[in-house]
């Protein structure tokens, strides 16, 4: 750590990877331990593969069925991205409308909040009935459940602007549009990204639930098939790929957040 390179403000790639490992070391260690215990237990107790396959069996399975898994993951990914994209494209403008329009605030917002109590998953069969087995019902379920956290967080963010900030803009002669672009929207960005981070996870859930009900493709569909065939290793493999997909998507949102609001990272790092 006392080498000249560590004084450098931009650490080398190797140093960063090492830093990541030391930081995440405890979590990684625990994870590794769990897998080792799992592996040992299945071997020692001779657990049948159709009940609980060992990690090594799952890894081999993933490797063997890679093409099949990717093919279905790709189908699920499309549903997730379209559903989530729709949530963003509809949700953020709706939040803006709620903040700026009395009617939306008084009618749309309470309506939305009360609809939030409807378990959206329960709507999935209806959507399938209406829109068939294609991609559309899954996209809609993903949209429906990822939509709310995005709207609510955006609304909260835009309302969190202090009165003085609005006064400041007004005193400079800013109109509504300028106040929105220069104050309200950037101020709301940390909250918006908070909503997006919740929303992306919800969108994955929505897509998979949609697939459970009726599908011809996707990781949720693959799970159903595997279940019928008692192919437990394939079931687990699907879960692993699905989790990986969730983690990667979440981290993409985090990465975009860092690009878009570098100032926010500075504030949160200070708190840490």
């Amino acid at each position: 750590m006392s080498t000249a390179s560590s004084i450098d403000l931009q650490p080398s790639a190797g140093a960063r990877v090492w830093a990541w490992f030391t930081e995440q070391g405890a979590a990684l260690g625990i994870l590794l331990l769990i897998f080792l215990a799992w592996e040992a237990a299945t071997r020692l107790l001779d657990v049948p593969v159709y009940i609980l396959p060992s990690p090594s069996v799952i890894i081999v399975k993933i490797y063997a069925d890679w093409a099949l898994l990717m093919d279905n993951a790709w189908a699920s990914l499309q549903e997730v991205i379209l559903g989530f994209g729709l949530s963003v494209v509809v949700g953020i403008p709706l939040a803006v409308a709620i903040v700026y329009s009395r009617i939306f605030e008084r009618v749309a917002f309470p309506l939305m909040v009360s609809l939030q109590t409807v378990p959206k998953v329960a709507l999935a069969p209806i959507l399938v009935m209406w829109f068939g087995y294609g991609i559309l019902p899954k996209v809609l379920v993903a949209f429906l459940i990822s939509f709310f956290p995005i709207v609510i967080n955006t609304v909260i963010g835009m309302r969190s602007v202090e009165k003085e900030m609005i006064y400041l803009a007004e005193s400079m002669g800013a109109g509504q549009l300028q106040t929105f672009i220069k104050i309200r929207f950037p101020k709301a960005l940390p909250n918006i990204f908070g909503g997006l981070k919740v929303g992306i996870g919800q969108a994955v859930i929505g897509a998979i639930v949609g697939e459970f009900i009726a599908a011809e493709k996707g990781l949720g569909y693959l799970q159903l098939i595997a279940q019928v065939r008692l192919d437990t290793p394939l079931l687990f493999s699907s879960v692993v790929i699905l989790s990986l997909m969730g983690v990667i998507l979440f981290n993409i949102v985090v990465w975009v957040e860092r690009m878009v609001i570098p100032w926010h990272r500075q504030i949160t790092e200070r708190v840490e």
């Binding site: 202090e162 003085e164 900030m165 006064y167 400041l168 803009a169 007004e170 005193s171 400079m172 002669g173 800013a174 300028q178 220069k182 104050i183 950037p186 101020k187 960005l189 609001i261 100032w263 926010h264 500075q266 504030i267 200070r270």
Partner: protein, 271 residues
């Protein structure tokens, strides 16, 4: 005195402030109307530096907001540069009680905000902004975010932001309230220097009697709520004022006089 002031500012356009019989009630949802200001009258000549001192909650910020045109009067009239105020006053640069910096903008782009919003010449004002930051000791901090600054530094940025458009009228609401005594004294000197150079009209709100007297041509003393102007003092001290001013006998007498005024009002009490 008035004639002299007019001589000083003969070239600049008129940014006098006339507050005549202004009353302000705030309507509140729960507790009924708040009577914040009662029949306040106060005039600021163009290029004059006037301070307001008064107890907390007496309506100082309210008066400043009214003059800036950000909130409407309940009755009475306010004119800036001879024109009645009804809407944000264009010539005004405001330093709010809190610094209100935008977290997502660098120091320099915070200072440039008014230029951006008013669509003024970016290039010319960029120099001005850099100069201003330099004059308050913030050179090298241009690209930092507000979260990386101390409270005093943030307030200095807010002052630069108010000054970047060379406002004819500068409205400052306890700008140095959050600063330590030493920084505060330095800021007083810096503000005086800038004012002596630009000669804009300044309304300066403060809790500090000493600060008000040190900086101002005149000091208006307000009474507790509903706020009224209890007394206006002419401060007859030479310029530029410095460390020796603070030990000047006249300076000490002015402080004493304001303090006795607060004692008489029961705002300060010795028992």
């Amino acid at each position: 005195m008035t004639a002299q002031r007019e001589m000083i500012t003969h070239s600049a356009n008129d940014v006098s402030v006339e507050v005549a019989g202004v009353t302000k009630h705030y309507r509140t949802a729960k507790s009924g109307p708040v009577h914040a200001l009662d029949e306040v009258s106060l005039n600021l000549g163009s290029g004059e530096f006037v301070s307001i001192v008064g107890p907390s909650g007496c309506g100082k910020s309210t008066l400043l907001m009214l003059i800036s045109g950000l909130i409407p009067v309940s009755s009475g009239t306010i004119k800036v540069g001879g024109k009645p105020v009804n809407g944000p006053v264009d010539e005004a640069g405001i330093v709010f009680q809190r610094d209100v910096l935008l977290d997502w903008r660098s120091v320099l782009s915070n200072v440039m905000l008014p230029v951006e919003i008013k669509r003024l010449d970016q290039k010319a004002h960029l120099n001005k902004a850099t100069e201003l930051l330099h004059s308050v000791g913030l050179t090298g901090f241009e690209e930092k975010y507000p979260s990386e600054l101390s409270g005093g530094m943030r307030q200095r940025v807010a002052i630069c932001r108010a000054l970047v458009q060379s406002p004819g009228l500068l409205l400052m609401d306890e700008p140095f309230g959050a600063l330590d005594a030493l920084t505060r004294e330095q800021m007083n000197l810096d503000l005086q220097r800038m004012w002596l150079r630009d000669r804009n009209t300044v309304l300066f709100i403060t809790h500090s009697i000493e600060e008000a007297i040190f900086l101002s041509d005149r000091v208006a003393v307000m009474s507790a709520r509903p706020g009224r102007i209890a007394e206006v003092l002419d401060i007859d001290l030479g310029r530029p004022r410095g460390a020796q001013t603070r030990s000047d006998r006249k300076f000490v007498e002015y402080i004493d006089r304001v303090r006795r005024r607060f004692l008489a009002q029961g705002i300060l009490s010795e028992s």
